[in-house]
Symmetry: C2
Subunit: 205 residues, 2 copies
């Protein structure tokens, strides 16, 4: 299903430029709002040249999602079953918050896709996501059973982490309008809040 590996250096360079440009445009405008002309300009190519490397706008979009999904979900997989439960989850929260700061386009890309009802997410991708989430939910439940984590429903805990951290990327325009100071100050404030918040909520009594 995914594209073959590039053969020549020109192919590698151009496919990379296209995906980079497409990330800019799709994240800012959504799938329907993005135009091939805008992607071509962002990639520094002509529109027919875009379609020499990808057969359609949707193919670019799918390749982009496929390329970014693993990196986007990696921190959830990286939770160490051997570590301290509260500290492991807190590290995940802060890692996700940092990704909202350093990778806001990826966050908005997925936010747009899910908001529209995930029309481009295949059953296999959704299945991969569900397996990962269910696995980590099972880990959380074991931690809870061992009394090392406050008893909270794991799926909703994961949702709350996604929601609170990605909020600073997806709804950055609103956050900027409501909180004074520069970006660094805002993310420092968010870090302090989320650390204290999740520490209180997750530490077993």
């Amino acid at each position: 299903m995914t594209a073959d590996k590039p053969k020549t250096r020109i192919q590698a360079k151009n496919q990379d430029a296209i995906l980079k440009g497409a990330l800019d445009v799709f994240a800012a405008e959504g799938f329907k709002g993005a135009t091939l002309d805008a992607i071509a300009e962002a990639a520094g190519l002509s529109k027919p040249n875009l379609l020499y490397y990808f057969p359609s706008k949707e193919a670019i979009y799918l390749a982009l999602i496929d390329t970014l999904l693993d990196a986007w979900l990696a921190p959830l997989s990286a939770i160490d079953p051997g570590g301290d439960p509260v500290e492991e989850i807190l590290a995940y929260v802060l890692r996700k918050l940092d990704m909202s700061r350093t990778m806001p386009r990826e966050s908005r890309l997925f936010a747009n896709e899910i908001l529209q009802g995930m029309p481009h997410i295949s059953a296999t991708i959704a299945g991969r996501l569900k397996v990962l989430v269910d696995d980590q939910a099972g880990l959380f439940e074991r931690w809870i059973a061992d009394g090392r984590l406050a008893p909270v429903e794991p799926h909703h805990l994961i949702f709350s982490i996604w929601a609170t951290t990605q909020h600073y990327a997806d709804f950055a325009s609103q956050v900027e309008a409501l909180v004074p100071g520069d970006e660094t100050a805002r993310f420092d404030g968010a870090r302090d809040f989320l650390d204290a918040f999740y520490r209180r909520a997750l530490t077993p009594s």
Copy 2:
């Protein structure tokens, strides 16, 4: 700036039908994804007839936002300064969660708008929002100073409430894919989680 009050019953009925249909379409497709034909069909009118009542697609969108914003923000204003801090904020959380269940289209409408960088939100609307948020943040700070609320930064607390509750409307497709059971069960689980979570996080030690 806002449209005048409708004069005739036909005007009232059709403007209402247009705004209802537009809510369906804009919430599902976003501003750029929505088409006048789709809105017209959802409203049960012809496209030229739409444009007899509103001068443009953007005018429909602006009227819709203007109509819905106050109701959408009302629960935040409704927090009672004379009530118990933790219970007041918890009631706000559960009210917002309930709105995600009963008004998901409104939630997605605003989510789409903010995701795109609030290109249609005027300075006056943003100003109204900021005054409201800053006011309630001030109330939270007084509660904290009185030792009746755990010391958390109020703006980030409000963001977390918006994020965790609206998540169940904005990203419903993802929640449905990851949590088994029907909608009622999912929202019951979310309610239990958020109640316990915020109660722990907000109760002063």
